[in-house]
Amino acid sequence: MTASFPGEEWLKDLESKLNSDERYAEIAKNWEGDLFFIIEAHGNLKEPLTFYLDLWHGKCRKTDFNPSPADYPNPVFVLTATYDNITAILTGKLNPMTAMMTSKLKVRGNLGYMMRNVPTVLDFVRVAQEVTGDIL
């Protein structure tokens, strides 16, 4: 099950995979936090793009494709990256830890929570990589 990134189908596939992946369910069983992604226009992406995921105890409760930041004013984390960097992460060309440590993926939110749960973050990336097919 893969889908082209970026797109609403990709986000739905990600939601489905997060809700069926046993490894993710175990690693993320204590995770409580929603994510708001901002993909900055770069390369093939001509307009900024957003997506939202509500992650809770190893499951994905909700996704939203290209919402306005005003729709989700207080997410636990806001993650911002250029299109080229986010696609590099999704295709495995950019290590997600490298992306965070070099600020190619900018993180805003509860950093204490994030640092306690890096394995969950990394497994979330694994799942996202597994549902990613073509890059548009």
């Binding site: 440590m101 900018k106 950093l111 204490g112 640092m115 306690r116």
Partner: protein, 607 residues
């Protein structure tokens, strides 16, 4: 750069040492320049505690200019525990204040007949009696000196009782709890009967192109403030990555014999932020402010522990109480001794006690049960006072192990205790520890960050999987050169400021025309010079080693089953460095390539 104030404590005479301009261009400042200046004086025969042993406090050219994390300085000399090149890096405000006195460094030699402290007020030196201060801890001493000189805003670098009593890992402290902890230079300062150096200045720090520099430093600071790592360090301190380090198997427990610490959540930076933290502290003009200010419920605001202290007095000794760890760290700070080496050496005592090598007879009846913070507290007192088993512990882990015919159990390299980044979890640290010029040091190359994913693309410092080995040797060498530059500049290694930005900052301050290649060449030059100093003092390739414990696999945790292939890594490293495998010296060709012809002559023509 400005001159160095040279003080001979034998006579009380002082003079100005003008730094040769070509050395500034080649070595920049800080530790690399100190190595160049001290090179003729650091010989194998030199006793680090002799009057002629030099002690050099030195800034970098960016110190005090409000550049990104540029408020640090270095202290350099010969290490009493290692008998090798010694350098220790320290933050706070003391270094910039010295620059405002019109001096970029202070070079101490000789020994005073009685305890003294130095008072440098806007360039005017006074040598003052310190008998009243002798025996005071580092915090009280700073207050008493400020009171005695009548200047509340003076910044004071001091030693505690550990330095007075020659504890081989005594440090030098300033601005409350900032510590040049490693390599025992506090004991060298104590051997000179020098208790403190107070500075206060009003002069302008030289900047060649001040308008240009102001714009560059503002932009660099703005970007640094938005950096992910800077934000983690600000919010969580250096222990912010404790959980991840534990997950990777790079946070040692039970004196490097246990690969998993179940209660890591109890000792993490996140936990501190949620419980004890009441504020942040900072070095001069730093936008990160990684220093912790904590409250233990008694109304006092205290320095909170950073990662090394937390792991050293926490998982290393199986203590999982952050309040107790904070108290143990503060006790070491007050006595003026390095928490990494103190906790490591105490860990060795617990380990030898486990093995039955150390008994209650040796400890004076003190039982050493893992996790017993009270026993640790008593040992710290005994070390600082050199009482009972503390007399042996005060000599560091190598000598402590040797005293019990168990030197191989000591987790140290060349006499400096290993820090708390385990090469079984992050293999690059195997080379960092084995080849560091000052013993097992994590600051000459904090390669664990690279093994976690922190690449530096513009320098070709790329990512290799954490358990890849010899393939990353050249990468480690480049990273060491990069960090040698930081220790020359002197810039905090937490500053994610690109090499290109640093070149522009340096050029604006120093009126140089450096490129990134010049910067990296200077770093390589500094690294090789320190190596040559050590070679001249007797270091060979036999010294490039790791202790036994780090070459035995963990049974559990994120690094279970892995041990570094040090021999293979070293062979690749020597090749990348252009070093001679049989002697461990930089090749003559390499030294000449770096412009170190005189060093090449000394190293390769001497018998």
């Amino acid at each position: 750069m400005q001159p160095i104030l040279k003080i001979d404590l034998n006579t009380g005479n002082s003079s100005e040492y003008v730094i040769p301009h070509e050395w500034e261009r080649e070595f920049l400042g800080g530790a690399s320049l100190a190595a160049r200046i001290l090179y003729p004086h650091l010989t194998g025969a030199l006793d680090p505690f002799s009057p002629e042993s030099p002690l050099l406090f030195l800034n970098g050219p960016l110190g005090g200019t409000a550049g990104p994390t540029t408020g640090r300085f270095v202290v350099c000399g010969k290490g009493p525990a290692t008998n090798l090149w010694a350098e220790s890096n320290i933050g706070g405000f003391w270094g910039p204040e010295l620059r405002k006195c019109g001096y970029d460094g202070i070079w101490i030699s000789g020994r005073s007949d009685v305890p003294v402290f130095l008072w440098i007020d806007d360039g005017r030196l006074e040598i003052k009696n310190a008998e009243r201060l002798w025996g005071q801890d580092v915090y009280a001493t700073q207050d008493l000196v400020r009171e005695q000189v009548g200047r509340k805003t003076a910044h004071v670098a001091v030693i505690g009782q550990a330095g007075e009593r020659g504890v081989l890992y005594a440090g030098i402290c300033c601005d409350h709890g900032r510590m040049a902890g490693r390599t025992g230079l506090g004991a060298v300062m104590g051997s000179k009967n020098l208790k403190a150096i107070a500075v206060h200045g009003r002069k302008k720090i030289p900047i060649a192109h001040s308008g240009q520099y102001a714009a560059l430093r503002s932009e660099a600071n703005r970007k640094l403030k938005q950096d992910n790592e800077a934000k983690v360090l600000h919010e969580l301190g250096t222990a912010g990555a404790a959980n991840y380090s534990e997950y990777m198997g790079s946070m040692p427990s039970k004196y490097y014999h246990q690969g998993h610490f179940e209660n890591v959540d109890e000792v993490s930076g996140s936990k501190m932020a949620e419980t004890l933290l009441v504020g942040q502290s900072t070095c001069h003009a730093c936008v990160i402010a990684c220093g912790r200010v904590v409250s233990l419920g008694d109304g006092a605001r205290r320095k909170g522990p950073e990662y090394e202290t937390i792991v050293g007095f926490g998982p290393n000794l199986l203590i999982d109480n952050l309040l107790e760890i904070t108290q143990l760290g503060e006790l070491c700070d007050r006595y003026g001794m390095d928490t990494i080496s103190a906790a490591n050496t105490i860990g060795l005592a617990f380990h030898l006690y486990d093995l039955g090598i150390l008994t209650n007879e040796h400890t004076g009846g003190l039982t050493l049960n893992w996790g017993d913070s009270e026993a640790v507290r008593q040992l710290i007192h005994m070390i600082a006072n050199r009482e009972g088993i503390g007399e042996l512990l005060a000599r560091g882990s190598r000598q402590f192990g040797r005293a019990f015919h168990a030197e191989e159990e000591a987790v140290q390299v060349n006499g400096l205790e290993v820090a708390y980044h385990d090469p079984r979890g992050v293999s690059g640290m195997a080379l960092s520890y084995a080849t560091s010029p000052r013993g097992a040091c994590h600051n000459q190359s904090d390669y664990f960050f690279v093994d976690w994913g922190h690449t530096v693309e513009e320098l070709g410092i790329t990512f290799y999987e954490r358990h890849v080995q010899s393939e990353k040797a050249a990468n480690v060498a480049v990273h060491q050169n990069w960090r040698t530059h930081f220790n020359a500049a002197v810039i905090c290694i937490f500053a994610n400021v690109s090499a290109q930005e640093q070149v522009e900052l340096i050029n604006a301050v120093c009126d140089l025309n450096w490129t990134v290649q010049d910067l990296m060449k200077s770093g390589e030059r500094g690294w090789n010079l320190k190596r040559a100093i050590n070679n001249r003092m007797g270091l060979t390739s036999e010294n490039d080693r790791l202790p036994k414990a780090l070459l035995e696999p963990y049974r559990e945790g994120g690094a279970a089953g892995f041990v570094p292939d040090l021999a293979g890594m070293l062979a690749a490293y020597y090749h990348a460095r252009g070093w001679d495998e049989s002697t461990g010296k930089p090749s003559k060709k390499k030294l000449i390539e770096l412009g170190l012809e005189d060093i090449a002559r000394d190293l390769w023509l001497s018998p």
